[in-house]
Symmetry: C2
């Protein structure tokens, strides 16, 4: 178990370039209730099951378990709610802080989001130049929200 | 992953006595949707996360993962839907077939159910004398149904 503390920012795409290959992520949900979301994820060759509680500020309870990739694929193909979320994840560090950069595909193409996981809510964070608007508290950007309301349906 | 094939029977309580100590089970749900139920279970000192698909006849997809008991307890206490299901499970064999016997407590006190897991839908099953009415297809007896409609509310 871990309390997850994350800050999330939109990416200024003209200022960010991938530095590596990235890993392909395909994920879906067995529960979308904010009090108890259950996510199935295929990340490259590995499978994960992740349970998250409700947000309290920028903290939320999170438990993650690795499961066989074949079973994750089966859960995604047969049981998870539609549509699935597809994206490529790049990881890089800036001033000692690890960032996860998600470039979405499919129904969410055009969306690009960066997340930094922090030790505490008060931890200082030095922003890279490509970090745009902060969207940490904005439920529209939850991957679980993108099931019902994918980016292609948003008004610009 | 396994396709689970089970037959379920009510127990004639006057003909059945516990032969051993039994193990205490406390369980709850993160999703009650029949297409994708997610169950958290504390069974004695061990924790489990179980995902089940929809029934097809008496078969359904089932995947089970062991998780730390402490985390299972935390999920039950903080995230699972209310009320939880509590029961004591006894395991015994009859004519080479393993049976799981669940004696419910709390809101489901009075309910006693036995399950046999079979190799195939056509497998032969010799019934003990304490096996009463078969309820394999009856959704009321799903543990997941007992959350919304516990046994104490049933009409006798």
């Amino acid at each position: 178990m871990a309390k997850e503390i994350e800050r999330k920012f939109l990416i200024k795409r003209e200022l960010w370039q991938p530095k590596g290959e990235g890993v392909s992520i395909r994920q879906g949900y067995l529960s979308l209730e904010p009090e108890r979301t259950v996510r199935v994820r295929l990340k490259g060759e590995r499978g994960f099951l992740t349970i998250k509680g409700k947000n309290h500020g920028i903290s939320r309870m999170e438990m993650e378990y690795e499961i066989p990739a074949k079973e994750a694929a089966q859960l995604l193909d047969e049981l998870c709610l539609r549509p699935l979320v597809e994206k490529t994840r790049y990881t890089e560090s800036y001033q000692g802080q690890q960032w996860e950069i998600d470039i979405f595909a499919g129904d969410n193409a055009g969306l690009a989001v960066a997340e930094a996981e922090l030790e505490s809510e008060a931890a200082e964070l030095v922003l890279p130049d490509w970090a745009g608007q902060e969207v940490s508290g904005d439920a529209r950007y939850y991957n679980s929200s993108l099931i019902h309301n994918p980016y292609k349906n948003w008004q610009s």
